[in-house]
Symmetry: C2
């Protein structure tokens, strides 16, 4: 065996992040662990890399651990009756996914797919459970996280049930601005297909296309393929009727 192929060289360059520095700089939930616990975590974790389109886990399966995102973007979605995806949330640096199924001890109710090439750590369930048992402050932070997500889910339910597609699309754009930010040219720092946008908003792809081009006519956004430039945040807020 020889280890000097182009690919192997590349592999060797990869730097597996340490949990202590990562959790601090990403502000992940693990910053509430004791140094000993972080060390244990660092030992147990399994560092992995995925490319756009890869699937981290799929609904209906039993999950033996959860993922902590170090870089990249992942979409978490649920597949509806006719196979249409409903995007529930995104995960980026510092976020953890699949913890819901681990903690509720249920089968995964969502799937996770890579949107932007990512590096994640897989962490076995047992270690999470053991932290909860030995570190109450950490348990409380996890509860805080879960309950916060629950609040967001409640808002989402109300929005989808009551707002029009137009209002929701504007709101989703603002949400993306808030979550991923804009680059120095005001382009959204996340690139989604029109279909993916539709699967967040809960509408048809064609509707997203039509409404986006309306927003363009109204000088709210500029479109350059998948790159979306945000021109008028206030205008989008007005359309979306956000104030909760």
């Amino acid at each position: 065996m020889h280890y000097n192929s182009r690919d192997d060289m590349k592999q060797q360059e990869i730097h597996v992040p340490l949990c202590d520095s990562c959790s601090l700089e990403s502000g992940s939930i693990f910053k509430y662990l004791t140094p000993d616990e972080v060390e244990a975590l660092n030992f147990e974790k399994d560092f992995r890399q995925y490319k756009r389109g890869d699937i981290l886990y799929q609904e209906g399966n039993r999950i033996s651990g959860f993922f902590c995102v170090n870089s990249g973007i992942i979409k978490v979605f649920k597949t509806g009756f006719d196979g249409k995806e409903q995007i529930i949330r995104f995960a980026k640096k510092g976020d953890i996914i699949a913890y819901r199924s681990v903690l509720s001890n249920e089968l995964a109710c969502t799937s996770a797919k890579v949107i932007e090439d990512c590096q994640v750590c897989f962490i076995p369930s047992e270690i999470l459970i053991s932290f909860i048992k030995t570190n109450p402050a950490y348990a409380l932070e996890l509860l805080k996280l879960a309950c916060h997500e629950l609040g967001e889910a409640n808002s989402f339910i109300t929005d989808i049930a009551q707002k029009t597609v137009r209002e929701r699309l504007a709101e989703v754009l603002l949400f993306l601005v808030n979550d991923f930010g804009l680059d120095d040219e005001y382009f959204l720092n996340i690139s989604l297909t029109r279909e993916e946008m539709a699967n967040i908003v809960g509408t048809a792809t064609e509707s997203v296309i039509r409404l986006l081009s309306e927003f363009k006519s109204d000088k709210l956004v500029e479109l350059n393929g998948r790159k979306i430039k945000i021109l008028n945040t206030k205008g989008l807020e007005k359309i979306s009727n956000v104030f909760n």
Copy 2:
């Protein structure tokens, strides 16, 4: 002062339930507490009674504790942009409400209103937090509860986003059957206004009325004012496309 009016007599008859028996028979989350903790809970709790229409708490407010339901039914809802209620969940015997805001340390994102006269205990936040800190098994159960609710919220989001009003109404009926059961004449053990049904499904009152009478024509249900008799569960399942 004289204490022998009709009302006072009635008051005296009221039996304040003990947490240990109540938690066992209702299967509430408190059954995971130690005997000492249950005793502390029993001491700290504040027993209250509410009538239909009463409000337990309102969104936007800071909450100093949460509620454990002993009897009756409560609706938990969120008020949308135009004042329309979106019902998020119901609470009945053994359920706890408002724990989300307590644990996430956020303002209440929902309101709670009595649907069927109820008896509840109000429990100060501090005692819940202290249990989490001293009883890891209990913390884990709370996490399980929150994560389970999160899973239900995800399903709800997908349904509202993808299913038709007709499908959702059928699904809501089945959900109510499952949650509240049927009496010996197959009538639903919960009585809601058409508007409330609409506020679960996420539609207009008139749409609920029209669809219910369609279901009646199709011999799926029988209607007697607010009492709904379920005739054909299989038929409703077929309409609702449930299999998750």
